[in-house]
Symmetry: C2
Amino acid sequence: MKRTTIKDIAAMASVSISTVSRALKHHPDISLAIREKIQQLAKEMNYHPNMTAVQLRKQKSNIIGLIIPEAHMFFIPSVIKGISEVIQKSNYKLLVLLSNDDIQQEIDNVRICYENGVDGLLIALSNQTVKLDHLQEMKEEDTPVVLFDKVLDNNDFDEIIINDAKATQVCVDYLIQTGCRRIMGLFGNKTLMMTSKRLEGFNELIESKKDFHIATECHFASNTFEAWSQVDKAYQSFKPDGIFAMSDEILAGVIPALKQMKVAIPDECSVISISDGFLPKILDPQVSYLHHDGLNLGKMAAHHILQKLVSKDTHIPHITLMLSTQLIINQSTKPLP
Amino acid sequence: MKRTTIKDIAAMASVSISTVSRALKHHPDISLAIREKIQQLAKEMNYHPNMTAVQLRKQKSNIIGLIIPEAHMFFIPSVIKGISEVIQKSNYKLLVLLSNDDIQQEIDNVRICYENGVDGLLIALSNQTVKLDHLQEMKEEDTPVVLFDKVLDNNDFDEIIINDAKATQVCVDYLIQTGCRRIMGLFGNKTLMMTSKRLEGFNELIESKKDFHIATECHFASNTFEAWSQVDKAYQSFKPDGIFAMSDEILAGVIPALKQMKVAIPDECSVISISDGFLPKILDPQVSYLHHDGLNLGKMAAHHILQKLVSKDTHIPHITLMLSTQLIINQSTKPLP
DNA sequence: AACGTTTGCACAAACGTTTGCGGTTGATAA
DNA sequence: TTATCAACCGCAAACGTTTGTGCAAACGTT
């Protein structure tokens, strides 16, 4: 069965299609009588607009592109939820593309968004991405682009992130304050800017606290199980008394590793993490963490892009929005002296 | 800057737009000379097709709608990954809508998919959904619809699921075989068909094993922390020696609850779960589970809908695809005698 | 009664493609 | 020479909307 179009209604009501179009959106040019008749008819005939045609005519899709490097269980779901929540409320739709941490796929995805006429683009970069040429095209057409979570330094796009260095320092500082002197930093994929920022923060803090003579060792793991084995190895040589996990994915490897080796947490080794907040609650013991709120980040990113969508004041210089965070202390660390 | 269209190229090359259109897709009607010239020109002018126009003209969007009840960290990410993987490879795109377990939002989402001319629809139902009238419209236009994970009984849509009753029985049977005689069943949201199927399976098995005189108690929890407190309560009265958790989300509450009460696993109480497989590995002790593979489910669902998309043999009666599963034994249960 | 002003609707172009058909070449065969 | 036939390309309609403009009738004003 073919869908009914505005044209069918027009024929049925013996009016022109323009009249139907206007009547359906309560245009005052059309008499009340006809307006109601057409509305009625539209219902009866089960009419629903063809958005593709509307898009073409209006040159606007009400679609936001969302490109993420991967769909895994940490952080991303919260972000998607946050984004989706505000996007859907605002009558926009989400075209979701995964780039699988592959630069070529990311480029392709941007192209797909472009070709499908998205009104805006939200993107978390792949860990292979080192420049943003593929986003210029969007920019040149004044399609708002907002980077979130996984970003790059020195670009001229808006970005929503946290202060990575500071977040790390808050965590590590807490370890130091509670007596840790042999601290292991466990980070994510080396190629991520997020990783280097957090690593920098780590080193900076250690440097500033050199009076405490902290011994450190930093490692990188690109997934939970790599983190797990890194902890295993570190425990056979370095023997940390405190571990900083840069993310949930890392944390998920740290705790099981320690438990398997029967290391007492926090007595023999404290653990602290940057986290979305769920995992720390279900691990044993519950983990202290700096709360990096994915839901909120998603909402912020969405709000921001919607705002850019309405205020087409083309050239406000780009803005970097730093989300606030909060330190939550649980049993995986000792109390402050 | 305006995007270059086929028309611009036509003007530039002094040919008609139809020639450009054909040249760009290597149509043999166009001489090689012109074809190459136009391809070249298209590159130089940075031409990219306007998919909206193509959609309108071809009456095909290459978009698959994906509607899910919620974006949380369990199961869904794997499914999305699986779906996305095969969808993207096949040159389709994913319009993702969340219904937040709200029937009205689900209906709205289906409408959005319809209006945007998706070529197919993948949907996991909200827990409020009790009938599928809102999907009929799609069906009547021969738009393939595939239900997955969260489905309904007695419908005439294709569905990709696991054998819930059987899966449950495998788990519970293992508990019984390893000596458990006081078994607590902890299930998800009562309104889900998945829940009732698993509950049925549970009861059926217990009934069939009545010679063993198994004491049981079943509870329902709609999230991790409800599950947690259910276990707390149960342990003050029923005192199970085996717990079956119907999902990762439930399991995430069970283990911490037991650990907090210092219950020895599996000595005092065994734990088994239906799971996607990640969580059981990072909990302490590692949990035995029936592997319900989200990634695979996603792939299957996507493959199936793509296949329906090509073979437009309209009326094959609907099919229910049961995914295979596998029991993985870890330390949260005792070994078989 | 002549004029301007609303009111209410239809016409047609436009958005960027695809595609059936028809027409113009030049070459080949009869 | 004429008929035949590829080879090659353009015309125009179509997909379903939105929207600027035009036009007729009805109304109100002197």
